[in-house]
Symmetry: C2
Subunit: 504 residues, 2 copies
């Protein structure tokens, strides 16, 4: 297995090579679309499983709405189209036929659709078309429906997991009778995402509101999660929107309230996508490959017996029996505020005779198996094995019975260590600056909390000159209290620091 | 809740009304596409969860391949296109734009794709395009990859869950070094589907081979599962194909075998879809609505307290505490040959004051909740509740502690009863006939096992005259042994009875 480019040499090339070598994904023969290979897809499935349970534990249900959306649906609100729907896949015909002269397949010109259909770039228009049928009275509310779906945007500069034409995501669109209830829903789900980031992804993002000029069209508030990647850039992988009555009005969805009056419905909207796999790679990976939070890893332990002949192998496998038995029955507690579940420990025993141990070692490091257990014949008499911890990179000799006894604790400790590492990295690379000179100097390598006068003009000027944007207006966890000051460039008053960073 | 048309009056109308009234699905504003509503989708999710675990327990992995397939991929093998790909959705453009004069959205004529892209009607062409990159030597085999995906075929006569343009399905495509291994895989997975049908769907289909004239293009064998619906028609919801080297040759996928020689790869292919939800409706439903196998039901128990005021309700809820506590912790053993899992018991307490008890009863019957527990204040002193069994339609008074103690057993017994009922229904409506006259008389209302001379001509003639087709060549479980006879119409020798039926 070839070494990959280091992060220091070329971060972007490091990412691409890691995705390839860890067998996570590959470019397909369809331009702009990727193939998610089994190993990469297993990580996404683990993400989905946990999030889906969290959504269901907060009373959401899944449903499925059509892949194709009539073009006229996009014209209901021009600002909506402007935002996202211009670059998209348009279906115009519904039949192929054999060209009799050329033994070739052609699109049948007679099978032209009366109205073109768009492969959904996002589904609110088609989902609210159903909600309109479902909602008559306050008794039909709330509707808390989520959809796991593939969506498509015609992205020209693609990057696996981060930016591709076809994206796998979850989008939910809730409908509520009152603003208060919609607000509670919004805050609850913001917290669900936070819980998932911290306890499962092992990532500590800066969160809270987007500035007004960067909100989703129609949103009263857009909330965001901005974790720091190892190149000090922010990578946004999910946002949530509180949209009050905008969609209700656009689609004319009213309900009869308890006083028998007609009102427009309130809504919220949320998404997160396969970009989260990109988060994991960029936030945790190192020059030897992927590093995975154990709670989302496809496998937890790689067992590599070192043997010269079948007899050695038999002895080693006999010796390992208590560990195998343990792993067959072990589960990790995946308990957090919104989930109470267990995740089965999975392992791989690699007794392949055609690969060298060294090659196996680098393969499991590349794929980010949290633990690698290596067993030499000579160590059997001392009842010990070598345990390599992918997260701390420590290699230790352990008594087999200690490993058996503490397996779950070791893995859960790794999960915690990885989160602490990520949090410490972000904190160590975050600066509070007060002057624009200092800002320009530090923005290359740090997250910056700086004062801002809340105007789009100042934000644009800073972006023009430094390429940094306001990633979010953080809540009080992140900013120093009683810290009144002025905007760095306009010198107008500011009362709150905001997060500036370069981003993907 | 309005009564639905009975099965006897109009079976097809009964089906449509049931789908609507049980809130399983609805037609969308996109012609030929349906919206699967939360209740219907929950059934599909339960099906998926169990099948996915069975697939993983038999060493399969999931992956994701592109939604769009270049048109040229369909021309690699003309016979393949002829089979399924002619009616399909064709993407020709990739951008919308504002028409400045009309404030309208139009397809940008300048954004025409060089090569049209087809929304996958099935994925073998794009999947084997990847396999070609993945396979070099026998060491890369087998590949056991499955995909849960949406596919699209331009169906003009649609029917919810049975025939729609967009279909949710699972398709797997495996690649093997030897014919023997491919054969083993094929037989194993045939058995996995059987296991699922019998133990989870509670359906007893007739299975085995399709006749040669009805095989999937390129298949050496096509296996099928043909359960009997209550209108005596067969409804095929999954098939499996053993395809040996055909795709390996078409896509030129060779591998180096252990003797260092180049060989074509063998493959198998399988699918099952949301049609299975249609199976459940048509096989088990009755004139009061849906009947669900408990192991796949979204909810297991509906609790309906009958009360006049809040005090009554409090008393009833206090009384029910042991049952609630039980249900919060109860699981059903979902153990079969390929799975060892538990399914959490789910319930709903309906203390709505605006619906009458009668309306609640018909709603839960319509939705097929396996058990309904009704509690009157007057029964509290006897510690008893009324239990309605949706599957046997029996209503009994039970002591609350008996119900608490036996809850899982009652639900698992229902699962078994439903399977036995389905099996008995098929067996009671299956005839072994020897003459064509008898055949023509019985084919309206029965499954017929009759002799056939193995020629397409005889099969076609019978189909022309009776609309019945050969659904499958059953294995020995279904046919009488030592039963040599002649074809009903050609009088040529036959050695094996085949299944004739009308079908969807």
């Amino acid at each position: 297995m070839a070494k990959i480019t280091t992060r220091a040499e070329n971060y972007s090339e490091w990412y691409n090579q890691l995705v390839q070598q860890a067998e996570m994904a590959e470019n397909s023969s369809v331009r702009w679309c990727m193939v998610i290979k089994p190993y990469g897809f297993a990580i996404w499935e683990n993400i989905k499983d946990v999030l889906d349970k969290m959504f269901k534990n907060t009373w959401h249900q899944n449903a499925a709405f059509p892949l194709l959306i009539p073009k006229s649906f996009f014209t209901k609100e021009a600002s909506h189209v402007a935002w996202f729907a211009k670059e998209c896949a348009v279906v115009t015909h519904y039949r192929l036929k054999n060209d009799p002269n050329w033994k070739w397949i052609i699109v049948d010109p007679e099978a032209k659709l009366e109205e073109e259909l768009i492969i959904r770039p996002t589904s609110e228009t088609i989902i609210w078309d159903s909600y309109k049928r479902w909602i008559n009275s306050y008794r039909d509310l709330p509707i808390l429906v989520n959809q796991w779906a593939n969506v498509m945007r015609w992205e020209m500069r693609t990057r696996m997991f981060l930016r591709t034409a076809e994206i796998f995501w979850q989008e939910w669109h809730t409908a509520h009778a009152t603003a208060q209830e919609a607000n509670e829903e919004a805050l609850r789900m913001l917290d669900v995402y936070r819980d998932f980031a911290e306890n499962f992804l092992a990532i500590s993002p800066v969160t809270w509101k987007k500035p007004a000029h960067d909100r989703f069209a129609w949103a009263v508030e857009t909330y965001t999660y901005e974790p720091m990647m190892q190149d000090f850039k922010a990578l946004q992988a999910w946002t949530s929107h509180f949209l009050w009555q905008a969609f209700g009005k656009a689609f004319d969805v009213k309900f009869t309230n308890q006083n028998n009056e007609l009102e427009y419905v309130r809504w919220t909207s949320w998404w997160c996508s396969t970009r989260m796999v990109g988060w994991i790679i960029m936030a945790h990976g190192d020059d030897n490959g992927l590093v995975l939070p154990p709670l989302l890893a496809p496998y937890h332990v790689a067992i590599v017996p070192i043997f010269k002949n079948q007899e050695d192998l038999n002895d080693i496998m006999n010796f390992l029996k208590p560990l195998i038995e343990k792993m067959d029955n072990a589960s990790l507690d995946a308990h957090s505020k919104y989930i109470k579940d267990t995740i089965k420990v999975k392992y791989k025993i690699d007794s392949d005779t055609q690969k060298t141990p060294g090659r196996k070692f680098s393969e499991y490091e590349m794929k980010g198996f949290p633990l690698r257990v290596t067993v030499w014949k000579r160590d059997l008499e001392n009842w010990q094995v070598e345990v390599f911890n992918r997260i701390t990179e420590e290699k230790t000799m352990m008594r087999l019975d200690d490993l058996v006894e503490n397996l779950e604790d070791i893995l859960l400790k790794q999960q915690k260590d990885l989160y602490e590492k990520n949090k410490a990295f972000r904190e160590a690379n975050t600066y509070y600056v007060n002057t624009y000179d200092e800002f320009k100097e530090k923005i290359e390598k740090w997250f910056i909390f700086a004062h801002w006068d809340w105007t789009a003009e100042s934000a644009e000027k800073i972006q023009e000159e430094t390429k940094a944007t306001i990633r979010c207006i953080p809540n009080e966890w992140f900013v120093k209290q009683n810290d009144e000051w002025v905007d760095m460039i306009s010198w107008k008053p500011s009362v709150w620091r905001v997060l500036f960073a370069k981003s993907y």
